[in-house]
């Protein structure tokens, strides 16, 4: 979990296209898109439904591969890695926060947060220390042993945030993280993520429609029809 040089982008996409085959029809989700995302920023990808936001996040998250172009994450060309190496790369460097929380239902809040540390083979004592600290950071120390179905939506998303951050990744990707939350809870979650980002210097990249979330962004990437429409910096 080495930190990249402050100036080098944590994500670099060069002439990336992604096409899907839908029956006889070829759908172009991303079209010759190039962008760079600087580290230690709260970046937001915005765009209408079907604009290619989620596809872009999938490529950055290394869970999808481009049809054309180069995707570099944390200065690693993802095309150079085989399937297991990509999985290991994700386990070390990328945290995910999903719209539907996606906690493992048979694991407690504590075990869900601990899971990514098991994937990177962290020793038990360190695992325990980090998991407990992370649950305290998201305000769920008291609910650590609860199962996901015993938690509210907001609590589940806090667990998901803790799970994404516990391994101290270079990059956290969140696809509509507040979409399934009421506005008050959504605001609390955004504040939490902002605080955690400031503390950990992790790069956050969101795909969202949420204006509340956009207002917190350091960088905004507007996508339309699979192409980068606009890149704005906060205060620019």
């Amino acid at each position: 979990m080495t930190q990249p040089a402050a100036t080098s982008p944590v994500v670099r996409l060069a002439h990336v296209s992604r096409t899907y085959q839908s029956g006889a029809l070829e759908v172009r989700a991303l079209d010759d898109l190039s962008l760079e995302i600087p580290p230690d920023r709260f970046s937001v990808v915005i765009g209408a439904s079907g604009s290619g936001k989620t596809t872009l996040l999938n490529l950055i998250g290394c869970i999808d591969a481009p049809s054309k172009g180069v995707v570099e994450v944390c200065r690693q060309n993802i095309a150079e890695l085989d399937d297991d190496a990509v999985a290991d790369f994700r386990a070390r460097n990328i945290g995910f926060i999903f719209q539907t929380f996606s906690l493992i239902p048979v694991l407690s809040a504590y075990e869900n947060v601990e899971y990514p540390l098991l994937l990177v083979g962290m020793p038990a004592a360190e695992r325990r220390r980090r998991t407990t600290a992370m649950l305290e950071a998201v305000g769920l120390a008291a609910q650590a042993q609860r199962q996901p179905n015993e938690l509210s939506g907001g609590q589940k998303q806090r667990v998901a945030i803790a799970r994404a951050l516990v391994k101290q990744p270079q990059l956290v990707l969140a696809d509509e993280p507040t979409a399934n939350l009421d506005s008050a809870t959504g605001a609390a979650i955004i504040a939490l993520m902002r605080r955690v980002q400031a503390d950990s210097h992790t790069t956050f990249i969101f795909a969202t429609h949420d204006p509340q979330l956009m207002s917190h962004a350091d960088e905004i990437f507007a996508i339309r029809d699979g192409a980068l429409l606009e890149h704005r910096r906060s205060g620019a």
Binding site: F89, I94, T100, S102
Partner: protein
Amino acid sequence: MIGVLVKIAWRNIVRNRRRSLMTASAVAAGALAMLLFLGYTTYIFLGMETGNVQHLGHLRVFRAGYFLYGAGNPTAYGIDGYREVMREIGDDPVLKPMIRVLTPAQSLMGIAANYRSDNAASRTFFGEGIIPSDRARMLGWDQYHTGIFHPLDPGMSDADESSGLVGTGLARILNLCAPLKLPDCPPAPAAAPAEEHRGPVNADIAELAGRDAPQAEQAPEGAQIDLLAATVGGAPNVVSLHVASTQPQGAKELDDAYVLMHLGLAQQLVYGREEHKVTAIVLQLRDSRYMSAARARLNALFRERQLGLEVRDFGELVPFYGQVIRLFSSIFLFIALVMGMIVLFAVVNTMTMNVMERINEIGTSRAMGVRRSRIRAQFLIEGTFIGLIGTVVGAALAIGIATLVNRSGITWIPPGNAIPIPLHLDVLGRPLRAASICVGLVLVATAAALLPANRAARLSVVDALRHI
């Protein structure tokens, strides 16, 4: 890492407890059926082996050629100097510790007749001459603790050469129902007058037997029959046999012709005043596992001494034994195949449902960095757990049911037997087989999970995350 996979697998089984229980029940039913049948076949196999070893011994030494050709004329295949051969076998340092009983036996055929009855009757017989005390020891062999003890031959003793026993059928045929007080012996239909019925053979036997009259008069009270056979020299010979008791035989053909007598009497009938020989030297071993080693040693010994003898085991002497084993083994294989298929389909079905319900969870795990192989392992572990639970429950039920049956005192008459014996399900009698069944079922359950597990491992992360 394997710990968390096991934890997730186990908790998913508990979470879907009804489905898991149904699937484990199918595995348990398979284990129960196979283990009980194994227990039954084990009992049959060991019971048959015990019965055969008690009566025939493990190995029999014959003069070369007897096994293939001797049945037509057993006396022509007598073993010369059998006492010397027995001494060599008994003193052999390799064989000595293996042998439990070493005894001679004489097979013979002839005509049995009861001319003393008003309804004189005769019938060809198949007989064996044995040493009663040796036979009594042989009947006590029970290596597998089957509890099968054939009754000793009542009324026979080493000291009394004139007494023997006959098959119940032969006793009935020879009109010995009344003197022997045989049960289940309805009066025969009215026969032709005695004078007309007595044929020349009966007359001859009566005449020949008359020469033994003093001996017959000394015989104890009971039934007396005469046995006619040709001696080795071709001359007719006759002896009187005091029928001390009857013994039912499993097959009617044998029951209607069987005579068991003292070796001395058999030799007197067959060899007369010539050198007394025997048709077989019987070896009953302490343990059936010694059989091939003992056989090899005997063959080596006979080759070395150029004795012209051959060795046959009880399986060769009683082909029915091998046929029963093959029959039950094929039935067992069939049951195992059916049960295996049921388990296979039940586990495939359950694991496919488990994968379908957890596609999003699989996508999440993969996105977090779980390798495909670990996703596969997780579902394989689930299949293994279901197999283990089912097998343990099935095995416990099988042992419980077998214990109940074994304690219930149920008896039955197995094929080829005439006397009821206790039914015993020996589930753990062949522990390696029982373990193979259990391990096999767990492997089938694991293998059945492989297909859905592979499907789960091959899922595209993006498609899995999109799945609701």
